[in-house]
C-alpha cells in the first residue's frame, strides 16, 4: 500500500492515531509495539520496539504485555479502524466468567480465533517467552496452555453484528473499502422508541423518533430518550452523574419485538424499534 499501515491516512489522521484516540476513551495506559526501526508520530502512549524482528503476533503481544502497568490488556493490531468499545468492555469483563478466572479472552469469528483482538493477563508473559524461545509463533499454543475463554459468534453479534471489529486492511482495495465504510458509518441512524404502559402515560406519547450516532448503543438511546422525554427521568429512567440514562428496575427493553435486552452496550442498527415496557409482562 506504499507506506506502513499504521500511517495510512484515516479520518484526517494516521490510522495509528485514530486507534489510539478511540482506545483512549476506555484505557489510560496504552502501549504501542513498533517494529525495530519504525518511526511513528508523537502519541500519548508508551512506545516499545520489538527486540527481535519477525516474531509475528506472539512477539508483539509479548513485548506489549511486558510494558503495561496493569495486570491485563486488550491487544489489537494497528489496521482495524472499526473497533467497538462496548465489545472490548465485554471481552475484558470475561476474564472472570461464571466465577472462573481466565488468562486469555479471545473471540472466535468466522470459525477463526482472533488473537489480535483479545484480552491477555500479564501473567502469560513467561509462557509467551517460552514460546518465542521454542519458535512456536502461533498464539493458539498459548490457548492450549493457559485458561482461555473463547467468545462465541453469538456473543459477538450482540455487540457487533457484522463483525466490523475484525475488519482489517491488507490491500489497497481493503483500504479504499474501509474508507468508504467509514464514510457510511459517519451518517447518523434513525431509531424509534415505542413506549408502553406507564412509560407511555408518563411521556404522553407512544412513539419517540431518535437520531443517534452510527455506533449508538442501547445506553446511548436511553440517554437521548431522557433528553427528548424528561418526564421519564425518575420514573422509568434513571440518570447517573454523567447524564447516562438506564432503565429503572421494573422496566425492560425489547428490540423489534424480538429480543429482550438489558445490556446498555447492545449495539443498535438503523431502523431499530426499541420497545420500553414493564418487566412484569404477564399477570
Amino acid at each position: 500500500m506504499g507506506r506502513p499501515k499504521a500511517l495510512l491516512p484515516f479520518d484526517g489522521k494516521p490510522l495509528i492515531a485514530h486507534l489510539v484516540q478511540r482506545l483512549s476513551q476506555r484505557f489510560s495506559d496504552i502501549v504501542v509495539v513498533a517494529a525495530q526501526d519504525q518511526t511513528l508520530p508523537s502519541l500519548p502512549v508508551t512506545l516499545v520496539h520489538d527486540a527481535v524482528a519477525y516474531q509475528g503476533p506472539v512477539g508483539g503481544i509479548y513485548y506489549g504485555l511486558r510494558a503495561i502497568r496493569g495486570t491485563a490488556a486488550f491487544v489489537t493490531s494497528c489496521d482495524v479502524p472499526f473497533l467497538q468499545l462496548p465489545f472490548i468492555d465485554y471481552l475484558v469483563s470475561q476474564l472472570n466468567h461464571h466465577g472462573r478466572d481466565y488468562d486469555v479472552v479471545v473471540p472466535v469469528w468466522q470459525d477463526r480465533l482472533q488473537p489480535l483482538h483479545a484480552v491477555y493477563r500479564r501473567s502469560v508473559v513467561p509462557h509467551l517467552q517460552e514460546q518465542l524461545a521454542a519458535q512456536r509463533l502461533r498464539p493458539v499454543y498459548l490457548y492450549d496452555t493457559v485458561p482461555t475463554r473463547k467468545v462465541s459468534p453469538a456473543e459477538i453479534e450482540r455487540f457487533d453484528p457484522e463483525g466490523m471489529s475484525f475488519l482489517n486492511m491488507n490491500t489497497q482495495a481493503d483500504y479504499q473499502a474501509a474508507l468508504a465504510q467509514w464514510r457510511t458509518l459517519s451518517v447518523p441512524i434513525s431509531c424509534t422508541v415505542e413506549l408502553f404502559g406507564v412509560a407511555r402515560l408518563t411521556a404522553r406519547t407512544s412513539r419517540v423518533p431518535l437520531t443517534l450516532s452510527a455506533e449508538a448503543t442501547l445506553g446511548d438511546a436511553l440517554t437521548v430518550l431522557g433528553v427528548e422525554c424528561p418526564a421519564l427521568l425518575g420514573s422509568v429512567l434513571s440518570a447517573d452523574e454523567a447524564g447516562h440514562a438506564s432503565l429503572q428496575s421494573g422496566y425492560t427493553c425489547n428490540i423489534n419485538g424480538q429480543d429482550f435486552v438489558r445490556d446498555a452496550h447492545t449495539r443498535l442498527r438503523a431502523g431499530d424499534s426499541l420497545l420500553i415496557l414493564s418487566s412484569d409482562a404477564g399477570g
Binding site: F196, G197, S235, Q248, G250, G257, F260, D280, A281, G283
Partner: protein, 600 residues
C-alpha cells in the same frame, strides 16, 4: 396454634347439619392453606370418580396462614372442587373482605357436601351454620344477592356479614359459572355451577375469632418492608394501569391471540389498549381489602356505568371474538359479571362458535348473525348462555363438550386444554407458556404457573422449543403453588429478595413452626403432585396434557412472529422434559417413590 386454627367446618346441605373436625397440624405444615389445603382436602373428601354435579362432590373453601395478618395482598381465599368443565381439580382464588371473614370464623376450611332440596343460602358464624331459604334470591346477580343478604342480616340481626354468591349462570349449571364476592370472582373451572348443582345460592360469613401470630414484631417488620416495596417500580404497571396494560404489549410481541387463535396481531389493538382505556374512559381505582397495590380499574361505558376490566376479560371479549369497540367489551364484561360467567371461557366458547358460524358448521347459528366483530350478536348470546336457552344451552357446556355436538371439524378448533378455554397468551410465540398450558392440572391456566415469565424476560428464546422448558415450568408451578397457599397475591411476587427464604422466615414468624426455604420449595412440589394424583384418580390420561390441534398445525401468518409454529414433536419434547423435571415416569404418572419422598 398460630396462623392456623387447626379445624374445619363440615356442612351437609342434604341433612342440614354440620360438624367441626380437627385438621392435623402435619397436614397444615405439608400443604399450608389456600390451594394446597384445598387440594389435600379434596383428595380425601371427594369420593373417587365423583360426578361434579352430584351431591357428593365437595365444595371446599380454604383460608391460609397469612390471611388476616395485615400483610399486604393476603386477603384471599381458595375454593376447590371437582370441575364440571374439566372433570379434574378446580382451584379458584378470590379476595377481599370475604376472605378476612372466613379466617375470623375460626376454621381453616369449610367443606360443603350434599345438595339442598330448595334454593338455599348458608349463614355461617363461629357458632355453626344456618340453612336459609334463597328462593327470593333466585335469578339475582351475585352482587344483588350480596346486597340483599347483607341488608337483611343488618336489618334483622344488626350484624354485618360478608357474602360470596352465584348469578343466573351458576343456578343454571353453566359449566364455567363463577362465584363472586365484592366484585371479585373465583372465575375459572365452574365453581359457580357446583354451587348451582347443590342449589346453594350464597354463603354468608360472620366471624369473631382474632388471628394470632407467633412473633408479632417480626411479622410487622416484614409487613412494613413488603408494604413499602409494593408501591415501588416493580408494581407500577398494576398500580397505574392494571393488567389491561398487557394488551398492547402482547399485540406488539405477537402474543395476543385473536379470532379464536387464528392469528395475531389485532388491527384495532390501539383502541383496545389499556393505555387508551385509561386515557379515554377511566372511572375509578379499586383495591382488595388489605392491599396496597390496588390493581383494579373501573372504566366508564358510554351509558355512564362503571365496569371492572382486566386483561383476560379484555382479550377474551375483544380480539378473541374480533370485537373492536371498547364500549362493546365493557358491556360484555358487565353482562358476564351480572350472570356470573367466567369471561375467558365465555369469550373462548363464543369465539369457537363464531368460527363454526363462519365455516357453516352449525346451521342454527345462522339466525343469530354471529360473526367475528359483530358485537351485538355476541352480546345477545350472553343471556342465552346464562339461561341455557337456544344455542346458549350448548354453549353453556363450554367449547369442548359443545364441539362434540357439532362434529370432528369443529373439535379441531375448540381452543381448550382439558376442557378449559385458553387464556390470552399465544402459545406458538410463547413456547414456555405453551408447555405450562398443556400440563397444568386445572386445564389451560395462566395463574397456576407463571411460565410466560421466562418467555417475556429473554431468559429463553420464546419462539423456540427446547428440553430446558420442563424444569422452568415445574419451578414456576411450585412457586405459584406456594404463593397460592400462603396466600400472597402474585402481583407482589417481585417484591421479595429471595422468595423461598423470605417466605420461610415469614411463615416461621406467623406460625411459630420452623420453616426453611427448602421446606417451602418441597411444599410447592407436593401440592402440584397432589393435584396430579387427584387428576390421575379421576381418569387423567397422557393425551390430556396436550394442546388444541390448531396450535400444532397452523403457523402464525403475520406480525413479528410470522411463520412461527409449534410442532407436535416440539411439544412432546417439552412435555417429556417436564415429566423428567417432576420425577414422574415417561407417561406422566407419579411414581411410588416420588409419593413417598413427598409424604403423599
Amino acid at each position: 396454634m398460630y396462623g392456623f386454627h387447626g379445624r374445619l367446618l363440615r356442612i351437609d346441605l342434604t341433612t342440614q347439619s354440620y360438624t367441626w373436625q380437627d385438621i392435623e397440624s402435619s397436614r397444615l405444615t405439608a400443604v399450608l392453606g389456600g390451594v394446597g389445603l384445598g387440594a389435600s382436602l379434596l383428595y380425601d373428601h371427594a369420593p373417587p370418580g365423583v360426578e361434579p354435579f352430584s351431591a357428593d362432590n365437595p365444595l371446599i373453601f380454604t383460608s391460609a396462614p397469612l390471611v388476616g395478618t395485615g400483610l399486604t395482598t393476603t386477603a384471599k381465599y381458595a375454593v376447590v372442587t371437582k370441575s364440571p368443565l374439566t372433570g379434574f381439580i378446580a382451584d379458584s382464588l378470590s379476595s377481599s373482605f370475604f376472605a378476612l371473614e372466613l379466617k375470623r370464623l375460626g376454621v381453616d376450611a369449610l367443606v360443603i357436601t350434599g345438595a339442598a332440596e330448595q334454593p338455599t343460602y348458608l349463614l355461617i358464624t363461629d357458632d355453626g351454620a344456618e340453612f336459609r331459604t334463597a328462593s327470593h334470591l333466585t335469578g339475582l346477580s351475585a352482587q344483588e344477592t350480596e346486597e340483599r343478604i347483607r341488608h337483611a342480616v343488618r336489618t334483622e340481626e344488626e350484624a354485618e356479614v360478608r357474602v360470596a354468591a352465584i348469578g343466573r349462570a351458576g343456578e343454571n349449571l353453566v359449566r364455567f359459572a363463577t362465584l363472586s364476592n365484592e366484585g371479585r370472582h373465583a372465575g375459572r373451572g365452574g365453581v359457580g355451577a357446583v354451587f348451582g348443582a347443590k342449589r346453594l345460592k350464597a354463603v354468608a360469613l360472620r366471624g369473631r375469632c382474632r388471628v394470632a401470630v407467633a412473633d408479632t414484631g417480626a411479622v410487622e417488620k416484614i409487613a412494613t418492608t413488603l408494604r413499602e416495596r409494593s408501591v415501588g417500580p416493580q408494581t407500577a404497571k398494576y398500580r397505574e394501569i392494571g393488567t389491561v396494560a398487557n394488551l398492547a404489549v402482547f399485540d406488539r410481541l405477537g402474543s395476543l391471540p385473536t379470532y379464536n387463535f387464528q392469528n395475531t396481531p389485532f388491527a384495532q389493538a390501539e383502541a383496545l389498549s389499556g393505555e387508551s382505556f385509561i386515557t379515554n374512559s377511566f372511572s375509578q381505582t379499586h383495591g382488595c381489602a388489605a392491599c396496597t397495590i390496588r390493581c383494579e380499574r373501573l372504566f366508564r361505558s358510554l351509558n355512564g356505568e362503571a365496569q371492572r376490566l382486566e386483561y383476560e376479560t379484555l382479550f377474551a371479549l375483544g380480539p378473541l371474538c374480533g370485537i373492536e369497540e371498547p364500549d362493546a367489551v365493557l358491556r360484555a364484561a358487565r353482562l358476564c359479571d351480572r350472570y356470573g360467567l367466567d369471561t375467558i371461557s365465555t369469550g373462548g366458547t363464543i369465539a369457537w362458535a363464531t368460527e363454526c358460524a363462519d365455516k357453516g358448521l352449525w346451521p342454527e347459528l345462522r339466525e343469530t348473525g354471529l360473526s367475528f366483530g359483530n358485537a351485538e350478536a355476541i352480546l345477545a348470546l350472553l343471556p342465552d348462555i346464562a339461561h341455557r336457552q337456544g344455542v346458549g344451552a350448548i354453549l353453556a357446556e363450554g367449547s369442548r363438550l359443545a364441539a362434540t355436538r357439532i362434529g370432528a371439524e369443529a373439535e379441531g378448533f375448540a381452543m381448550h386444554v382439558k376442557g378449559m378455554e385458553l387464556p390470552g397468551y399465544e402459545p406458538r410465540s410463547l413456547k414456555t407458556m405453551a408447555l405450562g398450558l398443556a400440563v397444568s392440572p386445572r386445564g389451560a391456566c395462566h395463574n397456576r404457573s407463571g411460565a410466560y415469565e421466562a418467555d417475556f424476560s429473554g431468559q429463553v428464546d420464546r419462539l423456540q422449543a427446547d428440553a430446558g422448558r420442563g424444569a422452568l415450568v415445574a419451578a414456576s408451578e411450585d412457586f405459584s403453588a406456594v404463593l397460592d397457599s400462603l396466600i400472597v397475591c402474585k402481583f407482589l411476587r417481585k417484591c421479595f429478595d429471595d422468595f423461598y427464604a423470605d417466605t420461610a422466615h415469614l411463615m416461621s414468624a406467623v406460625t411459630g413452626w420452623n420453616y426453611t426455604a427448602t421446606d417451602l420449595k418441597q411444599v410447592g412440589e407436593r401440592i402440584n403432585t397432589l393435584k396430579k394424583l387427584f387428576n390421575m384418580r379421576e381418569g387423567w390420561r397422557p393425551e390430556d396434557d396436550w394442546l388444541p390441534p390448531r396450535l400444532l398445525t397452523e403457523p402464525l401468518s403475520s406480525g413479528v412472529a410470522q411463520g412461527v409454529s409449534l410442532t407436535p414433536d416440539e411439544l412432546r419434547l417439552m412435555i417429556q422434559s417436564y415429566y423428567a423435571a417432576r420425577g414422574w415416569n415417561e407417561e406422566g404418572l407419579v411414581r411410588e417413590e416420588k409419593k413417598r419422598e413427598l409424604g403423599l
